[in-house]
Amino acid sequence: MKKNFTVNISGLLFHIDEDAFEALNHYLNRLRTHFAGNPGRDEIIADIEGRLAEMFQERSAGNGGIISYDIVKEVTSLMGDPTEFVDEGSETDSSGSNQPKRIFRDAEEKYLGGVCGGLGAYFNIDPLWFRIGFVILTLVGGSGILIYAVLWIAVPTARTTSDRLRMRGEKVNISNIERSLKEEFNGIRDSFRDMNYPGKKKSGSDNAWNEILQNLSNGLGQILRFLGAVFGAVLLVFGMLTGIALILLTQVSDGQMFGGFVPSSDLRSFMDWIALSGHDAGLLAVATILLVFTPIVILIYSGLRLLFGKQVRIPSAYSVLFSILIISSIVMAFLAIRITSDLREDHAETSVEEAIVTGPDRKVTLMLRDDDTTLMRDDDTYSYFLFDEEARLPIVRDGSSYTGMAELEIHPTRDSAATIQVVREALGASRKNATQNTLQIPYHVQCDSGKCVIAGTFTFNSPEGWRNQRLRYVVRLPESYILEINKNSKQILTVPEEFKPSSPLLLINSNGRIRSMRTDNPKAASEPHGGHTLEMM
């Protein structure tokens, strides 16, 4: 059983099978497409329909008056495919070329209604940008859905080949149409979907409707250009503000100003880290700056483009900008990997130990050299002041000269003698290199009858940059020894601030614990006071 339609072809009534009807309609659509640019299009189609009617009449007589699919195939192959027609040459070429570009929905490039695909084809941009734009507009206020819906309703689908060509702004001439038709033929079999069904009124009202749609979409084109300009202005302002803000933030030397956790402190400490590494610092700084500012330039340029259109077009600006972005990312990643691998590589430590000879009072006093105290209080004279990666100790850099703070550790020991050990640590590309780096670190220990003067800081010159050098003084005291640390040496004691003893006098207990002693009553040493118990190992 086949569904059957009645059609009027050139004034004659025919019964036609559904599949035959679809094939015939497809053929006529292809003819219309082919003659889209021909001023005599309607007449030619009418003539061809007349001839078709004649042939149908001859052939359907022997088929119960019904046009079958086979008849349509036979007749249309006699009439020939539009691509087989002898080329009408320059006449159609010239008449087809002056049609304005027009917005269509692109049914072949669609997720929803093909709106973005059509916009992309019209503006010759990747539709992805429009999709992103709509998503952003939807998320920010929801206007995206509304605009999309309006466009979906108002913009017609590109049905025919000439529509598709006009959508892309290509000339509607025979060769372009043929090329597209061939593409269409190879890939698309579902053209039947977009059929006009019988009962729908023919050309007259159809044309009027198309005209309305065309006017609408031309108007929409202008609205879109306007919206594009508005969006461009937003991009421009946003890009400029971001740029200015970033420039200002890099000028802020103290990240604490914004609570310590704004990008300025991050960016700045990052730049400091680069500077500290001393490793291709200039190149890395340039790469960083490019990486941060190129996107802003892209924003501003895009804004200008959208706002002023082709007037501000700089040839291959986008490719240059994106190349800069990619190259600076690569440089940055490369350098970062190299620097971190340099820092990460080998670790070495060298240590010397000497005994502390005390008097009968078993008292050890630790003091810092005088010149260290000024250094630690006057940070402003140095160009960089920051913390090492564990955020524990300040490191000061002045040119290729680095100054770090020493660390002081106090441990109880079961040995009978008090000792002070100097441990110097550093990283390096190799173990040998790391050991060499440790030897750069100057230290100072001078003990005289229980009084030890140590260097609270260490300064060295390293063109290679900071290699995580550390200087640790490890003081080991047997039971019942008393340790006096003064205000300065207390500063480098490596315990958290809240555990720092309130008293400069410390006593090593019998159970291996360090206790604070009251300064006003040294006799009360065995009675802990103030609850400051330091558990050091």
Partner: protein
Amino acid sequence: MNTDNTLAQMKKGVLEMCILSIIREKDVYASDILAELKRSELIVVEGTLYPLLTRIKNSGFIEYYWEESKAGPPRKYFRITPAGTTTLQNQRESWEILVASVSNIINKQ
């Protein structure tokens, strides 16, 4: 350029003249012209004729009138205009010169 295309281009050049000649003999409708052209193997598919007829008509070389047909739809009968006759005359002269020249060249070898 392949031979098919060359042939197509040659045929294309003379089609207008042939159509004008057929119409000059007597008033005809499209199917008569098609029959004649197909017999002479000048066209392969019928669709080629219609845009040509429309263009020649729009150039003022032919005109048409409707005639009822007992068998089918009304037929569009074409007849030649005085301008068409002149054009045909010019084209025939050009054609004869062309044929003579071409023959002259290709027969020498």
